[in-house]
Amino acid sequence: MSFISYLINGLSLGSVYAIIALGYTMVYGIAKMLNFAHGDVIMIGAYTALIAMTQAGMPPIIGVLIAVCVCTLLGIVIERIAYKPLRNASSSLAVLITAIGVSYLLQNIALLIFGANAQTFQSVIKWKGISLAGGKLNISGETIVTIVVCLIIMAALITFVQKTKPGQAMRAVSEDKGAAQLMGINVNGTIALTFAIGSALAAIAGVLLCSAYPSLTPYTGAMPGIKAFVAAVFGGIGSIPGAFIGGLLLGVIEIFGKAYISSQMADAIVFAVLIIVLLVKPTGLLGKKIQEKV
């Protein structure tokens, strides 16, 4: 019975990773950059929701919506000011370092406003959850809601990317920016939209993460950010289903590692599995194989 409970917890944590990883992978697919500040957008989202709920006394659902709006705006502003000028820079490392700068910036802004002390996040989910097998298997409300939200987001995102006009534009831009522009696609707008969606997802992930693990500091986003980045690479960076599978697998491996091997070595196990997967399949589980030409 504990196996099933670990599995469900793993899937729940994995769902959070998957939602964050979607943001990483979409941005990578379209802008070919590793957005290191993504993890800190999660933290900003969680703080916004916390402030809206405790200081302004709003109901959780409004708090989450405000967090989503703030992060969406933040994502667009960051892209516009820090990343867009560097889009055609001679080295792709330039934008990577700028993203690191933005990450420091967000952390330190949060540090100035909210202080370094951990704040207790109230769960946005009031439901107690369900109890199965005569009370032997308890699944919390957060766990169920997280998994369901992740599935909904996943389905919505795939439909959006495959069926709608902006989604098609996104795929076109990620395939070939120049050609997409010639076809009359607004490349800048599409990239901004991608950042907006990624950041909105980060806000949701932040709220879900802090509902399950209620301690919030300015550095809360850093480690989940890195793990989600690993998940995105794990599944094949640039691939939306890959981010989903990578996230879930990573969450399950982490929880199982903690439960059955060693709680201190869980991170090492996660990274070791990543290395093994990449050595066997160098572009991740669902990544495209790129043929190199001379």
Binding site: Y28, P85, L86, T98, L105, A268, P282, V294
Partner: protein
């Protein structure tokens, strides 16, 4: 005499010159006592970061691969050498001999790790390579945190659980104590040693770049397939650059370990934060530009300390400075604007031609 030198030699001599002059100036100021003790305490860390930045530039700038696990090699060098120094503290009493042996051990261990990690990692490309180096760095940090080593009359005891699991005799001493790390490492690192290590690092890296091997490495960076087709052994040269870089990072780690009395491994000193910090030095100083790496490492290490008066705002300003500098250095539009309005000597010449 100067005219006979190639452009490279001249440029290298200038780099050595800058380092030597900086050292002499700082040393004079320190002996004159006109520097705050805070700044004086920063001298060894600056040497450490210069070595790290130069060695990472070998991988990022010369080999052209993004490594995010450089701090991992530093960690290996630091812990292996601190372990040695602590064990030998009472056996070898001459500080400098013990430190040199520790240095050798740190460098060799880091180089071995460089080879072991390099063989699988260098098969990958681009961002995948970056994430795997990051993963290795985190694994090293994580493993060091669960490592317990003790010593008693029966020899060494190892464990990955806790001190009790070491099963030592009553006279045993704990050397590596898991997350508490190693305490009581002799403080052997000095500014002079750091300075000499910088010179050695520069000598190795600059000579490598201007050698046949270095040109082979750079040809792989510029076009791997073309390099392969003219008979360059890609794996060998990649591994060579990676291992040398790891060994030099190990040397920086040795310096780090012997500058502190307590050595622990956390996210800020041996985790990805540190690796990224070193990468910031390299990119800001100019990818592939060794002199730039040195200057960036010195300036960015001093910057947070110089901003200390601003207290809570210093890291915020640091972040803003970083973003603005990146935009100023790399954004195509800014470069164009700079060329038009700020007339640098070199650019003017091009215009005349």
């Amino acid at each position: 005499m100067l005219k006979k030198m190639t452009k490279n030699t001249k440029s290298n001599l200038i780099t050595y010159g800058i380092v030597i002059v900086a050292f002499v100036v700082m040393q004079t100021l320190i002996s004159a006592g006109s520097i705050s003790s805070l700044l004086e305490g920063l001298m060894v860390p600056i040497c450490i970061y210069v070595i790290l930045a130069v060695s990472l530039n070998l991988v990022v700038g010369i080999l052209g691969e993004l490594s995010l696990g450089h701090a991992g090699f530093m960690c290996v060098g630091a812990f292996s050498s601190a372990f040695f120094s602590k064990c030998m503290r009472d056996v070898i009493t001459v500080d400098i001999v013990r430190f040199l042996l520790a240095l050798l051990i740190g460098i060799v261990t880091a180089a071995v790790f460089g080879i072991l990690i390099g063989i699988p990692v260098l098969r990958l490309k681009g961002d995948y390579l970056a994430i795997v180096t990051l993963a290795f760095g985190e694994i090293i940090k994580n493993l060091v945190n669960v490592l317990y080593i003790g010593k008693d009359a029966n020899g060494f005891h190892f464990s990955t659980k806790d001190v009790m699991a070491l099963n030592m005799e009553a006279d045993g001493t704990v050397i590596v104590n898991g997350p508490q790390g190693i305490t009581g490492t002799p403080k052997d690192a000095t500014f002079l040693i750091g300075f000499i290590l910088i010179l050695i690092t520069l000598f190795i890296v600059l000579n490598l770049i201007n050698s046949r091997d270095g040109r082979a490495i750079m040809s792989i960076r510029d076009n791997r397939i073309a390099a392969e087709s003219v008979g360059i052994n890609v794996t060998k040269y990649k591994l060579m650059a990676f291992t040398i870089s790891a060994a030099l990072a190990g040397a920086a780690g040795v310096l780090y370990a012997h500058n502190l009395s307590t050595l622990t491994a956390n996210t800020n000193n041996f985790g990805y934060n540190q690796s990224i910090m070193i990468l910031v030095f390299v990119v800001l100083g100019g990818i592939g530009n060794i002199r730039g790496s040195i200057i960036a490492a010195v300036v960015l290490t001093l910057l947070p300390e110089l901003l200390r008066g601003l207290d809570d705002y210093r890291m915020l300003i640091y972040a803003i400075v970083l973003i603005v500098m990146m935009l100023f250095n790399w954004a195509p539009k800014v470069i164009e604007w700079r060329e038009r309005h700020l007339r640098f000597g070199r650019r003017k010449k091009e215009a005349v031609e």
